[in-house]
């Protein structure tokens, strides 16, 4: 690592630190329903949308109705993406004449984009036409992110309202997140990215004759509009197969910076927004501190690991799977950011990372993607850990645990445990299943411990709704498409429903005033406890299997063993 790398890393952190309070305050305004600088422009279309949809924006929804609205709305998204794929051949804007997608791949992809996972068992340029990418995938990139924000808002209202039933209006939360936050930022990002060379057109693929006289097909399409929201909405699904390693998807170091920045921007800002909305900024900052601590630790280990000499290949800092314009540091920084933020886009192939850098990416996902995490999802994810933390702290001192004045009791703990443990069980259970079945094992492309890592990464990515992969694993099979599809569904909704149930339960409670016996949740002790809970839950669950995968691979690599 040289001074240039360090400058870029510091610049990245600085931009995030500056943007977080600005965007966070703006989002708080938007979701409190206050007037903001976009209201004069977007107010009328917003009102028109409600009128056309027959929605009363003042209607309050209890947690069950809020959840039902969410599920119905998401089901529509799934259905649309599924149908667009299986009838692709008969639909317009398919200039390459791509065939209908098989049922299992269509199921997998529809689930994947609805759940904000963006796991891709296909390559965009050879599987999906412009219409599916635009009307199916781009739309879900927006709406799955907006769904996440809506759940987060429900939970924040649950924490702030006293003896209330309603959590807000799901339709309003969905519309406002899309209209005021996601669309404007995406417009800006899409244009900036196009300026760097990301393609944006509806031209059929072109045929070029190279300097040496052979034929080269040049794939095109409306990529920039999809890539902007793919990064901003922590979706991660590439327009092209190799995602943001593709020169048309991520052409320059600046486009790379913009995309990495977009990837963590909203997840960081939303935590600040939480502080503003509960009128206790320090509470938000405490969560941000806990996230940042884990992020910096993870990045440090991953970068160090990537620079370590690899005796098998006789080199350190191997460029396999990496692009020259980004180099090592930017590739590792992206890998750590994308795996913490539930984004899942890649600018270098994770399968070719050194064992411990790959482990960090995997572990970030296994920890529940709460280190900033997905749009909306990162916040309600870490709140589950916060509930566990105050519960454990309460047990230690023998007091009823409280968070922001709300008593944390049996139902909340139960739901939080469900939300934390079920996705973990899916990761481990799914990996075991794949390792036992011939149709699971046949997907592995690496011998030795790396093969186990490939399967483990796949199920972590699916259950964690991340979407990145050790892409050597051949996953476009009926088994993986269905199994990973189910893992994505569980990983998404078995966290969302408990989060909303907790919100509903907390909304109904009174808020206790702060007393001398209150455990402060904005101080160093709490931050330390929270970090410990996140790491200990993750380590206890996954250390054994990680030992068999990336850890043993690391030691075998040091001995120069190849498979």
């Amino acid at each position: 690592m040289d001074i240039l790398d360090l400058t870029q890393i510091v610049l990245y952190a600085a931009c995030l630190i500056v943007a977080t309070p600005i965007l966070g305050s703006f989002m708080a305004k938007v979701f409190e329903g206050e007037k903001n600088f976009l209201s004069p422009l977007l107010g009328p279309p917003e009102k028109l949308s409600y009128r056309l949809a027959g929605i009363d924006p003042k209607e309050e929804m209890g947690w069950k109705r809020y959840s039902l609205a969410l599920l119905v709305f998401n089901a529509l998204g799934f259905l649309t993406v599924y149908l667009l794929q299986i009838f692709q051949k008969s639909l317009p804007l398919n200039s390459q004449g791509l065939t209908n997608v098989s049922w299992d791949l269509a199921f997998n992809t529809a689930v994947s984009f609805m759940t904000n996972t963006n796991w891709q068992a296909y390559s965009g340029e050879s599987t999906l036409g412009y219409l599916v990418q635009m009307l199916g995938l781009t739309v879900q990139n927006f709406l799955s992110a907006a769904t996440g924000i809506a759940v987060m808002l429900g939970l924040i209202r649950g924490l702030t309202r006293k003896s209330a039933v309603g959590l807000g209006n799901f339709w309003v939360d969905l519309t406002r997140s899309t209209l005021y936050v996601l669309v404007p930022l995406s417009l800006l990002w899409a244009l900036l990215l196009t300026g760097q060379g990301v393609v944006q057109n509806f031209t059929p693929y072109l045929k070029a004759t190279t300097l040496e006289g052979s034929a080269q097909i040049i794939p095109l399409g409306p990529a920039a509009s999809q890539i902007a929201i793919k990064q901003l909405g922590t979706n991660g699904g590439g327009f092209f197969g190799v995602n943001s390693a593709h020169p048309f998807e991520n052409p320059t170091p600046f486009s790379n910076f913009l995309q990495m920045f977009a990837l963590l921007m909203i997840p960081a800002a939303q935590v600040y927004m939480f502080g503003v909305m509960i009128k206790r900024k320090r509470q938000g900052l405490a969560l941000l501190a806990a996230m940042s601590i884990i992020f910096v630790l993870a990045f440090g280990v991953a970068l160090k690991a990537e620079l370590l000499p690899n005796p098998v290949l006789g080199t350190s800092a191997a460029m396999e799977g990496k692009e020259t314009r980004f180099g090592i540091a930017n590739s590792v920084l992206w890998a750590v950011a994308t795996s913490s933020a539930s984004n899942g886009s890649v600018n270098a192939m994770h399968d070719s990372l050194s064992p411990l850098a790959g482990l960090i990416a995997m572990l970030n996902i296994m920890l529940g993607e709460v280190i900033f995490g997905g749009v909306g999802a990162g916040f309600y994810g870490i709140l589950m850990h916060v509930i566990l933390t105050v519960f454990i702290a309460g047990l230690m001192v023998g007091r009823t645990p409280e968070y922001l004045g709300k008593k944390i009791e049996g139902p909340e703990i139960c739901w939080a445990v469900v939300a934390v443990l079920i996705p973990n069980a899916v990761i481990l259970g799914g990996s075991v299943l794949a390792n036992m079945l011939p149709c699971g094992i046949s997907g592995i492309s690496s011998a030795g411990p790396h093969g186990l890592s490939q399967i483990l990464y796949a199920f972590s990515s699916a259950a964690g709704n991340n979407g990145s992969a050790f892409a050597g694993l051949n996953v476009n099979t009926v088994f993986y498409n269905v199994a990973l599809g189910i893992a994505m569904l569980i990983g998404r909704f078995v966290v969302i429903i408990p989060a909303l149930a907790i919100a509903g339960s907390l909304a109904g409670k009174k808020t206790a005033p702060v007393s001398s016996g209150t455990f402060p949740t904005d101080g160093a002790l709490f931050i330390l406890l929270l970090v410990s809970v996140i790491l200990i839950v993750g380590a206890l669950t996954f250390l054994p299997v990680l030992t068999l995968g990336p850890i043993v691979e690391h030691f075998l690599m040091l001995q120069g063993r190849a498979f």
Binding site: A190, L191, Q200, E212, I218, G241, P247, L313
Partner: protein, 189 residues
């Protein structure tokens, strides 16, 4: 039932906004302000499309600078990487082979250290760049194959420097040479 109708209507409205209006607006603005970039940074030569500045081409001739290895053999539909892991015997073998072939083609002794980018395959399989070091190591081969005079040879060396892109804005990314653009320039030496 009311919920379902509301969901359906709002879904249609938001689909129209994010799936039709938004991409259409981006396309119009992109075509207006950045039409070269938005259409693929295409390069024409004698009225014919010879490629994109951004997509690597396969160069095998002695008279051209070579791109990085591509696991998908420079396929664009679909693009692809090797996805070989850090303890892969196949990767180990491929790297040894590439290093040997590169040394042989460029008449380099075993003592010359090869830059990492030239022996490892890229992430996209279409990496348009190589490191400046990887370009310099190929210069003599290119000059010899083209039977360049001493003066032209010096110009070739200068071209490499000229086509070396510094980090963007002085800080972002690694120094690199666009192989396709360099070869275009070499052709008109």
């Amino acid at each position: 039932m009311k919920l379902l109708i509301q969901a359906l209507r709002l879904f249609l409205i938001l689909t129209l906004l994010t799936g039709v209006v938004y991409p259409a607006v981006v396309t119009m603005a992109a075509q207006l302000f950045f039409s070269y970039q938005a259409n693929g940074s295409l390069v024409m030569k004698n009225g014919k499309l010879v490629g994109s500045e951004l997509l690597a081409q396969k160069f095998q001739g002695e008279g051209y600078f070579w791109s990085r290895s591509s696991a998908a053999d420079f396929a664009t539909v679909p693009s692809g990487a090797s996805n070989l892991g850090p303890t892969s015997a196949a990767l180990k073998e491929a790297v040894l082979k590439r290093a040997e072939a590169f040394r042989k083609a460029n008449h380099l002794s075993q003592g010359v250290a090869l830059p990492s980018d030239i022996v490892f395959a890229s992430g996209s399989g279409l990496d348009p760049h190589i490191s400046p070091e990887a370009a310099r190591l190929q210069a003599d081969r290119v000059a010899k194959a083209r039977k360049l005079s001493e003066g032209k040879r010096q110009m070739l060396y200068k071209l490499i420097d000229q086509y070396t892109e510094a980090p963007q804005f002085g800080v972002l990314g690694d120094p690199r040479v666009n192989v396709f653009r360099l070869n275009l320039a070499v052709d008109s030496l």
